[in-house]
Amino acid sequence: MRSCVRSSRALSPAVLPRLLSDTGCWGPRSDRRGLWNSPRSFTTATETQPTPLPGQARVVICGGGIVGTSVAYHLAKLGWTEIVLLEQGRLGAGTTRLCAGIVSVAKSISIESKMAHYSNALYERLEEETGVKTGFVKTGSLCLAQNQDRFLSLKRLASRLKVIGINCNVIKPKEVTKLHPLVNIHDLVGALHLPGDGVVSPPDVNHALAVAAANHGVQIHERTSVNHVLVEKGHVTAVETDRGPIECEFFVNCAGQWAYELGQASEVKVSVPLHGCEHFYLLTKPLQEPLQPNTPVVMDMDGRIYVRAWQGGILSGGFEKNPKPIFTEGRNQLDFQNMQEDWDHFEPMLSALLRRMPSLDSCEIHQLVNCPESFTPDMRCLMGETPGVHGYFVLAGMNSSGLSFAGGAGKYLAEWMTYGYPSDNVWPLDIKRFGNLQSSRTFLRHRVMEVMPLLYELKVPRWDFQTGRQLRTSPLYDRLDTQGARWMEKHGFERAKYFVPPGKDLLALDQSKTFYKPDWFDIVGAEVKCCKEAVCVIDMSSFTKFELTSSGDQALELLQHLCANDLDVPVGHIVHTGMLNERGGYENDCSVVRLSKNSFFIISPTDQQVHCWSWIKKHMPNDPHLHLEDVSWKYTALNLIGPRAMDVLSELSYVSMTPEHFPSLFCKEMSVGYANGIRVMSMTHTGEPGFMLYIPIEYALHVYNEVMSVGQKYGIRNAGYYALRSLRIEKFFAFWGQDLDSFTTPLECGREFRVKFDKDTDFLGRDALLRQRQEGVTRRFIMLVLEDHDTELDLWPWWGEPIYRNGELAGVTTSSAYSYTLERHVCLGFVSPPSLDGTPAVVTPDFINRGDYEVDIAGQRFPAKAKLYPFSSLFTQQRRRKDDMELSNFQAK
């Protein structure tokens, strides 16, 4: 162990004048704090002479941490040339240098586990590939459970990992002792053993990736900082550095903690919503009997700590309840290199550590390391091309799993840049799930204080963020709130989950956390019943609403190109359609209303606001007569749902609302009460009869009041999104972002009827769909009705549960809900037949209909009946025409 505190001062970039320092391609790294002792020297280093920057490059990557080097490495592997990697200080001198070096697949969503799995394999083979030691040790890891709820979540994780093909075992506390000598198991109920997990020395991995990248021709320049990014006509054109400009086509922002500021420093500001928090871990001196380097990593999430072996001693950090946000005002606030240790802040983690490993009591402290990490508003990283600027890619906000994700994320981003999209669905990580509205520093500061503890918190179905709320609200928010609304948030918008009747109390927030039947069960049941038998109002104002207008028929042409369904319909018609990509996968699932010959009203899911906008903009010709406007904020959307919706509306308007005069999937602009210009659409998002009312916001309260007072005699009441979800899932309606993604085609989810195959109009994805129609689909969206599942006593499904067919893994669920009509749980998900000869097999009706299906909930399998069509005919009142069945089906989650 070198004592490097002194050397750090001597070599810190702040102290050395830039001119004197080594600005060569790169030199030997200075091991500043000496956490990782790794002698390294790079033979090709030109120590004395700074290499001049190239005047132009294809891609410039900013950030020489593990993420940036991984992107460079993978781009080079995919055959890219003229890659320049810029690092303001030394390679891997930021969070990478200080991070704990654990690579674990225990992540909260599958795509993250996949990335970690890939990273693990990459780091393992990196030493062989490059000859650089990476300190990789396959230690395995142990996730401990102190209570049954945690144990359940670990079991759920285990069944999810099995789907991806990652080896893991749910074990008893006694077996933990065999794997780890120090763990106190007295208060444990079980554990999850992940034998594939490992530890590395992060700076060494960083170094190895850099070496490999350099071998593939990547130019690496240290001590070069990016001042700003130049943009012309929505495209990246060049990067301005402190050593001169570099022209480039692509720019990748991997600046970690500084990614937010770098985004703001671009000519067209790019929103990279992340915020730093201090993160502490402890290093000890070697134990009396030094801990073996292959001792498994321990993650005691209930104690909020992790522990790994480190040089005979331990390294232990955690995610405390009261994190300390940092760099709110930017990088000048504090020096990254001189972060202070804070023992008082670390006390809860130290207590948890000594409780978990009591024998460490006599172990001597080496150091408490303060390593700032960056966090995002939803605990997932930020990846992909930014919405406003073509060629500007981001990979940042790793939520303190940078090392675990870097390999896989770098690969996905490289694929994205190469092929236009990664080889897997990365929507949960796509930076376009956020917009400018998540860019407020105050919002981020408050939110990350919730996110960081959440990493190790028990996550039960339907948890919501508690901070950064009430940002976007409907004008009816207060009215609904006083009527007992309980809220959840989507894309910053408050949406009612359900309405607690007066006099009824629900459990406190913490107590209502459960994997079993929730306390709102009866409340939502009553709302569903009202939707089925009378009429309910649901405020759905959060939807993304665009208006596309043109002077000629450019708008129609654009939509015909973008949408799979035929939009050349008479004025007033509503069309449900997907916007597909070249692969035929859903980029968006929306309803388009033809308001007039050349103007269209596009309704998309709430979180499509940024993504859909950029998708349309990307394909929109630069025509001054074609105009796209985001009108989300202009309209309040009320959904009148239920058999009596027609009666309520006809009392408020002189327009006849009967199906003869107002057929399904029609839109009329009419007056409701005193308010004129209300867009009334005969559709719902649940499959029940009813209407959507798009109301200019200033009329919202008036219309709502009128509807409620007229509706009284029909038994009208408010309903929330939970009722909506139950209704849409029992009707087998898929929801974009939950069930549908950019890898799902309309054919795979039984929506062939929404594709204009019969017309000759070309549209995006047509070729792929035609090919698929020819070849047959290899996966199919199905509906599973759980049998022998006791709603009261059994675990409830959520999503992500494995589906088994005849005992074989066949797919994964994507959403689930309790159907109050069927009195059963309904899960939606995709299944695909096992491939026999390596090529994917085609789904046949027999595959669906014949076979014993089971859904695995936390290791327990429940038999289920698979269906390709909903049960609607059994229980809906057949009031409307048959094509009611083909109602919209997206937004309801």
Partner: protein, 524 residues
């Protein structure tokens, strides 16, 4: 019995009995109570009084330790019962006063409490008055001081013109401009019965001031303070000698005169801080050092046997043959702990005067043996004075707060500790140095113990909204580590009335917070 009391003394290493002289016991809650009945004093004589008289006699009641525990909310409600905060109002979003506000609180040990506190803003002159009064031999004198002293001070500071105006207004029956704006806790009461008497004494005082001053003169603060203190004590003495036709008032003025009280008063006006102290209350300034820590600057001298100057002064005022008796066993005449006090006419009047006043007094006095008690070696009265010692301090930006406290506070906590606790509380940050391991060999276990202890210290801060309450919590509940031990706190507060006084004295605290920006601005 004697052993019991010695045990208690040994336990705490301090002697709680301040005075062995006679008093009118004040057992009813309100001193000016309407429910007063002849003979009440005797009937209600409690071990508490006995002990004050002759501690060697010990207790009559058996000292059964009630071993019930108070929960943290119960503890809090006891501690917070008397807390009071005042924030100086802002104008145009700016606080132009050097005083940001004050927090005050008191915790009784005697039943009823013998401490009093007052706070008021002078309306006709500038400045704010704050005072802590510690009564002995009953609360009557302290009560009278809390009502009257600030008026005397305020009047003594009035310029000639205002005095004229005041007198004219009274003369012609016009309403008076108020002189003081009081900042009172609901428990801080004023007696209605005596107000006429008090007013007429005050009026006589300003009439005299009017005669003595000349137009255009503004009195010096120091002289005004000294003058007011002495005048009030004189009036207390005179009122008792003259008596009152109203039997109740007559009895009341006697009780005021025969009981005693110390006073520690602060006058803040801009950057000028005057402390007038009589007795063993204390005023300590919290000074923030450049490194953020706090140090204590004491602005008053205790007038008791520990103060050599004071012993010298007392001895010099009496013939040499009394040198041994005038200060005996660290007490004045072997009886009284403070060497300066208001009231306590037993140490001021001649024996003849005492006899005469008592004989003409109400019957209740005759039934009380103790009033007839004359201190031993009582040859050359007066032995006691109410003249204050006035200290002046010009406030500097680093002077962050002032703590006025009765001796109940200072005998439990060292002034440095007081200033640290208040300073850390007010600044919100705990100036505990952050821990660094450095090159030391520290085990995880040792570090853990240290961190837990530091945490306990911090957690006690968050319960209090009032700095004075926070200080009382520490004064009563501190363990040997200087951190609040809830169990200890709970035990101390659940002591039965008759025992409480053995373990602690009444505690009264006023903490004045200064505005460093205004102070800095005025300096330039």
């Amino acid at each position: 019995m004697a052993t019991t009391s010695q045990l208690f003394r040994a336990l705490h290493g301090r002697d709680f009995s301040r005075i062995w002289t006679s008093s009118f016991s004040c057992q009813t809650h309100l001193p000016c109570c309407q429910s007063f009945q002849p003979g009440a004093c005797l009937n209600q004589r409690s071990p508490n009084i006995e002990r004050r008289w002759y501690p060697t006699r010990g207790f009559r009641t058996s000292a059964v330790q009630h071993s019930y525990h108070l929960s943290p909310p119960q503890v809090n409600s006891i501690l917070k019962a008397n807390e009071y905060s005042f924030k100086v109002p802002e104008f145009d979003g700016k606080n132009l006063s050097t005083v940001l506000g004050f927090d005050s609180n008191q915790l009784p040990a005697n039943a009823p409490i013998e401490d009093r506190r007052s706070a008021a803003t002078c309306l006709q002159t500038r400045g704010m008055l704050l005072g802590v009064f510690d009564g002995h031999a009953g609360c009557a004198c302290a009560q009278a001081l809390s009502e009257r002293l600030f008026y005397y001070i305020a009047v003594a500071m009035l310029p000639h013109e205002t005095l004229v105006e005041l007198e004219n207004a009274v003369e012609s029956g016009r309403p008076l401009h108020p002189i003081l704006q009081w900042h009172k806790h609901p428990n801080d009461y004023f007696s209605k019965e005596a107000s006429r008497l008090y007013f007429s004494s005050l009026r006589t005082y300003w009439q005299e001031l009017l005669d003595l001053s000349n137009p255009g003169e503004t009195p010096d603060v120091r002289e005004a303070l000294i003058n007011a203190f002495k005048r009030l004590d004189n009036d207390i003495s005179l009122e008792a000698q003259v008596g009152d036709p109203n039997a109740f008032l007559h009895y009341w003025v006697l009780r005021v005169a025969f009981s005693g009280a110390t006073a520690c008063v602060a006058h803040v006006d801009g950057n000028d801080l005057h402390i007038a102290n009589t007795g063993d209350g204390r005023a300590v300034l919290g000074v923030q050092e450049p490194d953020g820590s706090f140090s204590a600057l004491t602005l008053s001298n205790d007038h008791n046997a520990q103060n050599e100057d004071e012993v010298r002064r007392v001895r010099s005022e009496h013939p040499p043959n009394e040198a041994k008796t005038v200060v005996k066993q660290d007490r004045l005449l072997g009886l009284l702990m403070p060497f300066r006090a208001f009231g306590d006419v037993k140490f001021k009047w001649s024996i003849e005067l005492q006899r005469r006043v008592l004989e003409s007094g109400p019957d209740q006095l005759h039934q009380n043996e103790h009033t007839k008690f004359i201190p031993p070696n009582y040859h050359t009265p007066p032995y006691l004075t109410a003249e204050p010692e006035v200290t002046y301090h010009r406030l500097r930006p680093q002077d962050r707060f002032l703590v006025l406290g009765s001796d109940g506070l200072w005998e439990t906590l060292h002034r440095q500790e007081v200033v640290r606790i208040v300073g850390e509380y007010l600044t919100g940050v705990h100036q505990q140095q952050p821990i660094t391991v450095g090159g030391y060999r520290v085990t995880l276990g040792q570090m853990h113990g240290l961190l837990l202890e530091r945490k306990a210290r911090i957690s006690s801060t968050f319960e209090d909204q009032n700095a004075a309450t926070h200080l009382i919590r520490h004064a009563v509940g501190n363990n040997e580590f200087g951190t609040v031990d809830h169990e200890r706190l709970s035990k101390m507060l659940s002591l039965p009335e008759e025992l409480a006084r053995m373990y602690r004295d009444d505690i009264t605290i006023i903490i004045v917070q200064f505005n460093p920006h205004v102070i800095g601005g005025q300096q330039n």
